[in-house]
Symmetry: C3
Subunit: 448 residues, 3 copies
Amino acid sequence: MTSMSGGETSQAGDVGAEMHRWVSDLFPICRSLTGDGVRETLAYLGRLIPSLTVHEVPTGTSAFDWTVPDEWNIRGAYIEDEHGRRIVDFALSNLHVVGYSTPVDEWMTLAELQPHLHSLPDQPDAIPYVTSYYARRWGFCLPHSRREKLPDVRYHVVIDSTLEPGSLTYGEVLIPGSEKNEVLLSTYICHPSLANNELSGPAVTTALARWIASLPQRRLSYRIVFVPETIGAIVYISRHLDELKSRIVAGYVVTCVGDDRAYSLLRSRKGNTLADRAAKLVLRRHAPDHVEYSYLDRGSDERQYCSPGVDLPVASIMRTRYNSYPEYHPSLDDLTLVTPSGLQGAFDVVRKTIVLIEQNRTYRTTTLCEPQLGRRGLYPTLSTRGAGFALRTMTSLIAYADGTRDLVDMAELLEIGPEEAIETATRLEAAGLLEAVDDANFGAIRPR
Amino acid sequence: MTSMSGGETSQAGDVGAEMHRWVSDLFPICRSLTGDGVRETLAYLGRLIPSLTVHEVPTGTSAFDWTVPDEWNIRGAYIEDEHGRRIVDFALSNLHVVGYSTPVDEWMTLAELQPHLHSLPDQPDAIPYVTSYYARRWGFCLPHSRREKLPDVRYHVVIDSTLEPGSLTYGEVLIPGSEKNEVLLSTYICHPSLANNELSGPAVTTALARWIASLPQRRLSYRIVFVPETIGAIVYISRHLDELKSRIVAGYVVTCVGDDRAYSLLRSRKGNTLADRAAKLVLRRHAPDHVEYSYLDRGSDERQYCSPGVDLPVASIMRTRYNSYPEYHPSLDDLTLVTPSGLQGAFDVVRKTIVLIEQNRTYRTTTLCEPQLGRRGLYPTLSTRGAGFALRTMTSLIAYADGTRDLVDMAELLEIGPEEAIETATRLEAAGLLEAVDDANFGAIRPR
Amino acid sequence: MTSMSGGETSQAGDVGAEMHRWVSDLFPICRSLTGDGVRETLAYLGRLIPSLTVHEVPTGTSAFDWTVPDEWNIRGAYIEDEHGRRIVDFALSNLHVVGYSTPVDEWMTLAELQPHLHSLPDQPDAIPYVTSYYARRWGFCLPHSRREKLPDVRYHVVIDSTLEPGSLTYGEVLIPGSEKNEVLLSTYICHPSLANNELSGPAVTTALARWIASLPQRRLSYRIVFVPETIGAIVYISRHLDELKSRIVAGYVVTCVGDDRAYSLLRSRKGNTLADRAAKLVLRRHAPDHVEYSYLDRGSDERQYCSPGVDLPVASIMRTRYNSYPEYHPSLDDLTLVTPSGLQGAFDVVRKTIVLIEQNRTYRTTTLCEPQLGRRGLYPTLSTRGAGFALRTMTSLIAYADGTRDLVDMAELLEIGPEEAIETATRLEAAGLLEAVDDANFGAIRPR
């Protein structure tokens, strides 16, 4: 798979700035579970990934325990005081309106307005992010400092929205490889102007899709989805369950991948799938101080992919995890929090993990007893003190290659990095000393 | 099983003082492996538990490697000096006579008497507890301080006992539930005037039997036995082996449950049966500083229940473990060592453990992907920051309910207490979101 | 198996001095992979072990990935300066010539000679040990201090060696027991004048072979091989693969067993075979501070015995491990490093391990519930405080004898030493309370 490694420098070198530009372009769009904001976002991404297909799922469609809700669109919204002064204006920030607010055009007292207002006493200058997808209500979000100064007058409250039958929109990219087995990347596109959660996710995922598509060859196939969180993932799974279950060998939810403060791995429910092990091996080298979370700390679409009966091997790779940084979910999660280097770091980790999964095979030696490395030019011909202990990685890969451990496990056992493991295994396979014994179904082993 | 929870306050509130009264009433009776002391004890308990049945097993009956011994009864015993002064008198403490002493009526020198005397140099004011069930001898126990002052005169030694064919007596309470699966409680009734080891055991077990029988409904059936230690348990097992093996899902030896100093769990041989796991979960909440012993530290009838080939899931719940407190086995183990609160605490732990086992099921979700909690009133309809992390127990029970873990395991994984686990699972099952997939055979799982 | 235990004192008492004498006798011989030095060594050992058979395998014979090389013999070698002064002389130390050096008889400048010289700057007074088995070259080894003083003159370089078709020579001892199952001992005989690595190995192995052969009876059979390292082991395995795989229940590579500084266990690849567990149990008592190495630290013929597809349960017992002591491989590894007590200690550990393996059975109780020890004279008939906790080893062996653990595992669980485990199990088996349920295939268990 030299093609993948070769691709590293040329394609992947400096994609951080480019990703940050995409985040900036997409930032103003008012995304929600459904609606034109999602379509506009997917149209932008489709210009970057020509093979992206967009799917519309009509309101009312069943998906397991759920039903696709009405489509929400909004053109504008404001609160004006008696003098026509705008206290709150959707045009300035789409976070000002509670997601899925029903239309309203009324005059009311401050006391009547208050139950419809949301603010954060602890972060008095931030606009909170609030939604009400499944109960019809309307509301406004504003800085607590501003809310506290509202005079006790009458207000004109306008939300020019529609909430009516339409469809839920998602995007999908399928990139074929030599095998039908697939790697899944899943990210979401349902948050309005929030940079790290969520736009960092679609940006890094888009860069990964472009890099994968650019490779001259791939062993595995790739399934990359841009879905509204929760309902979108559920709809997607309900339409593709059998395919997903039979094909996905590892998958990642890509979210909160834009800041510079940490790297995080959130384990799948089973905790030790290929997705977990491969990401762990890469992170141990790339970011030895990364944070590890168990599935008890789950919070995004892995909740669906790993749910009982779906049982996909899906983990989450993040920089700082959602809900673990102070800017999470109010308006503070903006374009300053997400950086080119933050995005680049996340891109690199997922990319290296994919390279590792592409190369991950279960190996067995082709000879009984140790092979004679010397006559293959793999061993010093002169035995001096120490020579028996050199070339340790090569001889250890051979010593343990009994067809029970894949390369990721071997690297973990030998305490070597993914690159060293791949390079050594490739060299030994080329020399005819190791053979891969896992078949296309990943894990089934041919008997000796 | 609201009936069981509901029963907690009304029935179980203040049984400590009552149990202590029973211990006091039973204290003077001279119990042994066999004989009228055992019958008298069971008669007393039978007045408290009307469904108690008493069984007589004739001397000579085989039970695996053992044979029921002759029955022992004693009417009186003393040592008098030449002046007719009673040095030792059975009437003052039944510990003064070695259990199963053969009859004697002789004059002898102090030197001849000495080999028949037992005392404790380390606890010079205590009467030791000594028995000789399987070798015919006679002897007296007395405080070491008194023994040392015995003048070198002749003594009249009298034991008015009989040791002849009769029977071994035990009691049994069977309380049926909806299922044939059973919980076993086993305690012993073969020690004379010793309060913690043993009367605390029968007292707490009696209170538990009364509480269980009072419940309006039970899922499981209960088998509660009052047997002479070792030989009684072996006889009982030999008569009920197949039943026990096919029905017992968890059991406890109830012993040394009367003091106030500690809580202890002695694990079954296998160490991780339902009996072990359920008691552990309860103790972790009820007495976080409880002491845990492995089966290597065994010492009572779990030795029979867990023996190879019998293999029952039986652990021991105790306050301070036998052999671990200074009053163990001499006369210091009296009515001051056992307290109402000590008994009450043990009663509460076993009761809570039984409630947990009653409710313990292996759950599976009824939907693929997460269910929509909102439309069932189980989830806030307004999504604000933090809402995704609330209701953690409910969503985690769902997230892990894949039909491989029972509720006890789930609670351990989620680090929640038994009450929270039961309440949440009950609520989710009522909402149709979880279904129990273990059948009446406990552990067999229906395929999805 | 009292014969084995009985043999301990008489036969095995003071073999340390004897072993040291053998090492001294064998020290001057110039051994290599092949050649007359190996034959001379085996002839010496054959006088100590009459049943030793010597095998010759012709040059060119295939063995898995390897081919038996040409045979090497050497009669003399030196470097002389222009004045006929011998700078280096094989007659003084056979380490002076690179093993498998091709013949040479030439005059050359110091500059021309230098690429053929080997020395150790860090150990300037030591002669290094260097071989070149599979690439044809010649060379000399000398102290670095001497090399640095060589004047820039012309030198006469002579190696009177032959490297031509012949054979590889190894020795084999087969000692039959009641069962076909075998214990393997493997040591190597291919190093010239090096005392700890390697002559300690053949010496201790010879003493073990003599002790085993002297036993009046053995349950297991013994296969003891003296082979050139690597190629010899590979040749041996290639000729006996099926036999080895079907018969070996435990094996040890015996190497570096002559110094006084440490005890070491290098685990087999699988890490928890009988070979590992038994040696561990013995070492825990005999040398609680022994060093343990994983198979990652392997370095001798366990590399072949444990290789994938060969999969034998072979560990290594050592004093200080190869490559872990400063004298390893240069001329410093001489007769002062190896001591009678060092050899004796290693002999004792392997001997005790063999005794343990001979006695290692998987036991099951013959009765349900506890047996009545008292009527068999195994238990005090008088029950006093503490008696229930005495005889702990006996009752615990019974308590855990459920047919799932062998004696080594039981001893580990009970934290007792091998002697106590053997003695107790033997006593209980004699009393008919335990029965061995493993059959001759080691590990297959008869159903109850």
